[in-house]
Each structure stands twice: as structure tokens, then as C-alpha cells.
């Protein structure tokens, strides 16, 4: 039985890659991809612990999260579309008008 720490490290790695993606990328679409990574990292954790505790809830919940990710992407792309319309560019660093 593979010790659970490996899975956790794997999910932490995937999570940090996602975070790095958000922090550096300037294209809104790539933002969404990075967010996907974050969610999948969480899924790895869920399944790992479900297997670890022998409890099905974890896996079902990861299913739930996958669906949620899909919903999130739908909305995300909608927003990116509007972003493009208003700022003619999906560059995140352009849309800086929402501030004091």
C-alpha cells in the first residue's frame, strides 16, 4: 500500500504549479487552466484520503468537485469573453479599473 504522504506531496506539487500559473500568467484563459490544476490537486487529496480511510464519501465528493470545476470553467470563460469585449484583450494586467 503506497503511504499516503506521496499522494499528498503529489497534490501539493500540482497545487503549487497551479498557483505559480495564476501568479505569473497574464492571459485570462491560462488563469482558468491554472485554476483547473488547483481543483485537480484537491481531487487527488480527496481520493487518496478516501482510499486511506476506506470511506466512499471522499471519492463521491471528488466527482462532485469535477462537476463543479466544469461549471466554474463555464462561468470563467463567460467572464473572459466579457473581459475581452470590454478591454479588447484578455490580458489580466490591462483590466485595472476596478480599484479606488
Amino acid at each position: 500500500m503506497v503511504p499516503i504522504e506521496y499522494y499528498l506531496l503529489l497534490s501539493a506539487a500540482v497545487f503549487c504549479i497551479g498557483v505559480f500559473g495564476i501568479l505569473t500568467r497574464r492571459n485570462a484563459l491560462l488563469f482558468l487552466m491554472s485554476v483547473e490544476l488547483l481543483l485537480n490537486a484537491a481531487n487527488i487529496n480527496l481520493v487518496a484520503f478516501s482510499r486511506f480511510h476506506g470511506n466512499l464519501t471522499g471519492q463521491t465528493f471528488s466527482l462532485f468537485t469535477l462537476a463543479l470545476a466544469a461549471a466554474e470553467v463555464a462561468i470563467g470563460i463567460g467572464i473572459v469573453l466579457v473581459l475581452y469585449r470590454n478591454f479588447d484583450d484578455v490580458d489580466v494586467t490591462e483590466a485595472t479599473t476596478m480599484r479606488w
Partner: protein, 688 residues
């Protein structure tokens, strides 16, 4: 029957107050209804209170214990230790005498005002007569007050009325500022007086002048405490011994007296008070209000007699003021200014008398001075009417033929003021000087005061007759002086009455005659002031000054010799002064001899720069300090408050920089925040 006048005693003050209300209310709403602009109610009221005063005078002399004392509780202190505050009436020889003086002079001034104000077509008469009414009411209430607190309250009300009346012609610049100055200077004195009153109430638990069934008089308590059989113990403050603490209280009350009676440091307001109408000067600044201070000291003389240092101080201030003011009176141009300085000087004599243990002498001089000084002011008033309100003596001259009644009345007043034998001034001033001289032989300070007083006699004689000769004698120097504007009966009648009084009142207490010729029983005033209750009587005071202030009467040679000597010296000096004035000024074309004094004249003319000094104190010191305080307040304290707000504004503007608008920055902040939190919890929770 004797009780009736005492029930009516409050009416003495109530009548003028009613006339005040009538003048004020009817004047404000229905001026036409008011006869003669409010003069008639005023005259009736003062006449009424004069009659009641005389009736009270007679009743007091007839009554058993020689006084009538009735009081009501103004504020009852709850709990047992607290003191109650009272209003009350005390009719005894001294107060009834003063009541008569005040109401008589007030009546005559009201009559005179008909001529001075009504006939001259003044506007705002209801306000004038309301002011006079309120003044007379408060002065009479002050006179028959039975405790120090009530005395203080009416002392201040009288100050208010003098402010109202000095500033009567408020449309010009002069009178309002003179009124303000008068009120402020007397208020400064009243500050000390109030501290004294509170001190007396705190120390003795009562401020009564005379004891009653459940309350002792504070002078009597003081006497018992100092005499040692202190049945009643008093609380002294600031760690003083009773003797020292009583001296402090005496000096504090003296502050008010010096302010109101225009003695040395606080005298500058009186000459400026001449801005008010002349009847006001006659009533307030000659006879009554200025006398309030001296009357107050006489009223609680039982307390002052116990304090030798304070008595010496009073004598010295009195003597110095007498000389100081007399010298200034010599160089003045306006007739009212001369009289103003003469008033200050004469009150200096009364203080000298009181300080030297001459209680009867001072009261006598208070009595005579009230009459002849009121006479002189009214005389000056009639001269001013004649000269169409020009007060400069150098524009007058030769009015003797045109205004005989005024001239002879004025002459009688001047003779009294200078202290020439048959006239009242001589008897009272001589007795004051005699007392000072006699007691002075045993205490050098009194002798110094006596010397100053004596020297002042010469100057008094000089400036009085300089005034008379410049105004009435010689050739008329201006055409208004040639045919002066006539004056009616309402001017001449008061002058005549006061003229006779100025000549006659001396007979009331011719002590030197009694001593030299051995004619017993003609010192009526002395006996009168002895007729009152034991604790307020004149001989009791002399025993007190003897026991506590160690005043003993010394003599040169035999007793008769000293009387003759002092009377002769003072008469001689007065005659010398008059003669000098006669020599210099009784010429057809008098010349300004005082110019020969050169620089001394400028100093004297500018009243030793006292005025400038006090104005500088107000303008040059207090105002800049106030402005500096205001600048400090706006700058520093308000600055701190505004500073606090600007700090928060500045902080806000810096912190809002964090909100750059770029999403990545926010994500970055989120992540770092998460890391920091994780690490913190890790350390706290011991994960690592």
C-alpha cells in the same frame, strides 16, 4: 407705635424700586403717559423713602435696644453643618443716618435732574430715571443690609447702576468706555471683596453684622476668639493663626472698599466717570455710591478694630490718597475734574479717620462731605447749564453777578470743602486730623499718614478757591460767560437746601468747642452713634481699638493744647491755601500759573500716568496674552485634534496603494497570506 416704622422699613428701598419699574415699563411701552419722562415717580419715591428714613431715625432713637433687626432666610442649607444665607434689615444709628443722607441727596438730585435733563431736552429720559430709581433702591438696600453677603450683592448692583448711568449718552464714544472702565475697576475690587465674603462665611459660619437669638455677629465672634475666651471656635484656612487669618479677611474686604471708594490704586475710574450727566455725578460719584466703601468699613468696624496692621494700612492708604488726589486736583482745567479729584481726596480723609481709630470722626466727615460735595457737583451742574455744557473753567469767569444763588451756594460748599471755621467741612476734617494726630503720637505710621493728610489740607484749600475764583470771579472770558443761560427753580432749590446744610451740619458735632470751652453735650453725633446696641456703639469701638490695636491717645502738653494746636494748624493751612489761590487767581485776567510748574505740571496733569499704566495693563498685557492664548489654542490644541484626523487621512491614502487593480497582485497577496498563516499555525500548533 414704634413697631410701625419698622414694618415699613423694607418700603424705604421698595419705593425707588417701584419707581424704577414704572419708569422702565411705562417708558418702554407708553412713554407719553409718563409725566416728565419718569421724574415724578422718582421724586415721589425718594421723598417717600426720605420720610420713612426720618421716621425710622426717630423710631430707632426711641426704641429700647437702639436698633431694629429682622431677617429672612434666602437659602437654607440642608443638613446640619451647612450655613444658611439670609436677607435682612438692620436699622441702627449709623444705618438710619446714612439712609437719610442717601434719600435726601437722591431727592434733591431727582429735582435737579428736572432742570438739568428735562429742560435741556434730553432724549431717553425714562431710561435715565429708571437708572436713578434702581440705583437709589440698591443703595438703600445696601445701607440697611444686615449681613455682609447681602451688602456685597447690593454693592455689585450699585456698580451696575453706575455703569448704566455713566454710559447714559451711549451714542458718543466717551461715555460707554468710561462706564466700562468704571465697572471693570470696581469689579476688580469686588473680586477681592467676594473672596472676603466667602472667607467670612466659611470662617465664622455667618456674616451677620449684629447677633440675634440663634446667630452671633461675626465681628463679635472674632472678638471673642482673639480675646481668648473662644466659646465659639472658628475654622481658619491655609494654616494661618486666627489673628493673621482675620487680617487677611480684613484686607480682602478692603479690596472692595478701595475699588468702590476710589482709593489709591483703583481710583482711575472716578475722573472718567464724569462722562455721565452731572446729577449722576452728584448723586453717585460724590455722595452715595463712593461712600459705600467707607460706610462698609464703618459698618463692620467691630471687626476692623481688632486688626492693628489693617487699621494702619487703611490709615496710610487714606492719607496717601488724600495727598495724591489733592495734588492732581490743583492742575485740572474742567470744573468736574477738580471736583472728582477732590472727592477721591476727601474719601482718603475718611479712610484716614477710620484707620486712625476715629470712627465717629469718619462718620461725621462722611455726613458733611455727602452734603457739600453734592452741593458742589450740583453747583457745577448749574454752571454747566449756564455755559451750554462747556466745562472748561478757563472759558468761564465773572459768573458771580449773573448767578447769585449758585454763587453763594457754591461758595458755602467751597468753604466747607476747604475746611474754613464755621462751615461743616472744618469740624469734620479737623476731627479726623485730630484723631490721626492724637493716635499718631504713639504710632509712627499714623503720624506719617497724618502728615500727608495735613499737607493735603493746603492743596485742598488751594484748588477749591482756584476753582471758585476762576469760575465766578474776574472778568468773563468768553461771550457765553457774559450772558449765561438762566437756570430754573428746580436747579436753585436743591442748591439752596444743600448750601444751608453744608453751612449748618458742622454744629452737629463741634468737639473742639466742647473740649476747649467745656460746654458739655454738644457732640450730638457722638452721642447718637453711641445710642445703638452695645456691640455697634462708638465707645465699644474705641475700647476695641484700645485693647486690640493698642491705639492710645497721646498729647502734647495738656489735652486742650493738643486740640487747639491741631485745629489751629489745619485751619491755618486751609487759610494759607485759600490765600495763595486768592493771590494768584482773584484777578480780572487770571493767568495759567500752574504752567510755571513746568514738568511737574505735565506729571500732575497726567495723573502720575496712573491712567496710562492701567490702560497699558489692560490693552498692553491682558489683550496680547489673550491673543497668544488664542493662537496657542488654535495652533496647538486644535492642531493636535486636526493632526489626528490628518494622520488617519494620510494613513488611508498610503494603504489604498495596495489596491493596484491587477488580479495577479491580489493572488500573490493571498498566497503569501496563506503561507504566513500556515507557518504561524504550524509553529503555534507544533506541526513542524
Amino acid at each position: 407705635m414704634a413697631a410701625l416704622p419698622f414694618e415699613l422699613a423694607p418700603a424705604i428701598a421698595a419705593l425707588p424700586f417701584v419707581s424704577f419699574l414704572i419708569a422702565l415699563l411705562v417708558g418702554a411701552f407708553a412713554p407719553r403717559l409718563l409725566p416728565k419722562g419718569g421724574a415724578i415717580p422718582g421724586i415721589l419715591a425718594t421723598a417717600g423713602s426720605l420720610l420713612l428714613s426720618i421716621w425710622a431715625f426717630v423710631a430707632v432713637s426711641g426704641s429700647a435696644d437702639g436698633m431694629y433687626h429682622e431677617y429672612i432666610t434666602w437659602v437654607a442649607g440642608a443638613g446640619e453643618a451647612t450655613l444658611d444665607l439670609h436677607f435682612g434689615i438692620l436699622l441702627d444709628p449709623l444705618s438710619t443716618m446714612m439712609l437719610i443722607i442717601v434719600s435726601l441727596v437722591a431727592l434733591l438730585v431727582h429735582v435737579f435732574s428736572l432742570g438739568y435733563m428735562n429742560d435741556e431736552g434730553e432724549t431717553g429720559l425714562p431710561r435715565y430715571y429708571a437708572g436713578l430709581g434702581l440705583f437709589t433702591a440698591s443703595m438703600l438696600s445696601f445701607v440697611f443690609a444686615n449681613n455682609l453677603l447681602m451688602a456685597f450683592m447690593f454693592f455689585e448692583l450699585v456698580g451696575l447702576c453706575s455703569w448704566l448711568l455713566i454710559g447714559f449718552w451711549f451714542r458718543e464714544e466717551g461715555p460707554p468706555s468710561a462706564a466700562k472702565k468704571a465697572f471693570l475697576v470696581t469689579r476688580f475690587g469686588d473680586y477681592f471683596f467676594l473672596v472676603g465674603v466667602v472667607g467670612v462665611l466659611a470662617t465664622f459660619g455667618t456674616s451677620m453684622f449684629v447677633g440675634s437669638e440663634n446667630m452671633e455677629a461675626f465681628p463679635h465672634i472674632a472678638e471673642q476668639v482673639l480675646a481668648g475666651e473662644g466659646a465659639v471656635e472658628v475654622t481658619t484656612f491655609l494654616g494661618f493663626e486666627p489673628q493673621a487669618w482675620f487680617a487677611v479677611l480684613g484686607l480682602l474686604i478692603l479690596g472692595g472698599v478701595v475699588g468702590k471708594s476710589a482709593q489709591f490704586p483703583l481710583h482711575t475710574w472716578l475722573p472718567d466717570a464724569m462722562e455721565g450727566p452731572t446729577p449722576v455725578s452728584a448723586l453717585i460719584h460724590a455722595a452715595t455710591m463712593v461712600a459705600a466703601g467707607v460706610y462698609l468699613v464703618a459698618r463692620i468696624y467691630g471687626f476692623y478694630a481688632l486688626l492693628p496692621q489693617v487699621l494702619a494700612f487703611i490709615a496710610f492708604v487714606g492719607g496717601f490718597t488724600a495727598l495724591f488726589a489733592a495734588t492732581m486736583g490743583v492742575v485740572k482745567k474742567e470744573i468736574k475734574q477738580v471736583l472728582a479729584y477732590s472727592t477721591i481726596s476727601q474719601y482718603g480723609y475718611m479712610m484716614l479717620g477710620l484707620g486712625a481709630g476715629g470712627y465717629v470722626a469718619a462718620s461725621f466727615h462722611l455726613l458733611t462731605h455727602a452734603f457739600f460735595k453734592a452741593l458742589l457737583f450740583l453747583g457745577a451742574g448749574s454752571v454747566i447749564i449756564a455755559m451750554h455744557h462747556n466745562e472748561n473753567m478757563w472759558d468761564m469767569g465773572g459768573l458771580k453777578e449773573k448767578m447769585p444763588v449758585t454763587y453763594y451756594a457754591f461758595l458755602s460748599g467751597s468753604l466747607a470743602l476747604a475746611g474754613i471755621v464755621p462751615f461743616s467741612g472744618f469740624w469734620s476734617k479737623d476731627e479726623v486730623l485730630y484723631e490721626a494726630f492724637v493716635h499718631g503720637l504713639n504710632s509712627p505710621l499714623l503720624l506719617g499718614a497724618y502728615a500727608m493728610g495735613l499737607l493735603a489740607v493746603f492743596f485742598t484749600g488751594f484748588y477749591t478757591f482756584r476753582m471758585v475764583f476762576l469760575t465766578f470771579h474776574g472778568e468773563p472770558r468768553t461771550d457765553t460767560a457774559r450772558d449765561p443761560h438762566g437756570v430754573g427753580w428746580n436747579v436753585k432749590f436743591p442748591l439752596a437746601v444743600l448750601g444751608i446744610l453744608a453751612a449748618v451740619t458742622g454744629l452737629v458735632n463741634m468737639v473742639p468747642v466742647q473740649k476747649l470751652l467745656g460746654v458739655e453735650g454738644i457732640d450730638f453725633l457722638h452721642q447718637w452713634l453711641d445710642a445703638g446696641p452695645e456691640v455697634l456703639s462708638a465707645h465699644h469701638y474705641s475700647t476695641l481699638t484700645h485693647d486690640f490695636a493698642h491705639y492710645t491717645a497721646g498729647t502734647i502738653g495738656s489735652a486742650d493744647l493738643t486740640v487747639l494746636l491741631s485745629a489751629g494748624v489745619s485751619l491755618g493751612l486751609a487759610l494759607a491755601g485759600a490765600g495763595a489761590a486768592w493771590l494768584l487767581y482773584d484777578v480780572p485776567e487770571p493767568v495759567r500759573h500752574t504752567d510755571r510748574l513746568g514738568r511737574i505740571k505735565t506729571v500732575l496733569f497726567n495723573n502720575y500716568y496712573q491712567d496710562e499704566f492701567q490702560v497699558w495693563l489692560a490693552q498692553g498685557v491682558t489683550l496680547p496674552v489673550a491673543k497668544a492664548a488664542d493662537k496657542f489654542d488654535q495652533g496647538v490644541i486644535d492642531g493636535v485634534v486636526n493632526g489626528a484626523s490628518s494622520v488617519s487621512l494620510f494613513g488611508g491614502s498610503r494603504i489604498k496603494r495596495v489596491q493596484t487593480g491587477v488580479v495577479s497582485n491580489y493572488a500573490f497577496l493571498l498566497t503569501t497570506g496563506l503561507i504566513v498563516l500556515l507557518v504561524a499555525f504550524g509553529i503555534m500548533g507544533g506541526w513542524f
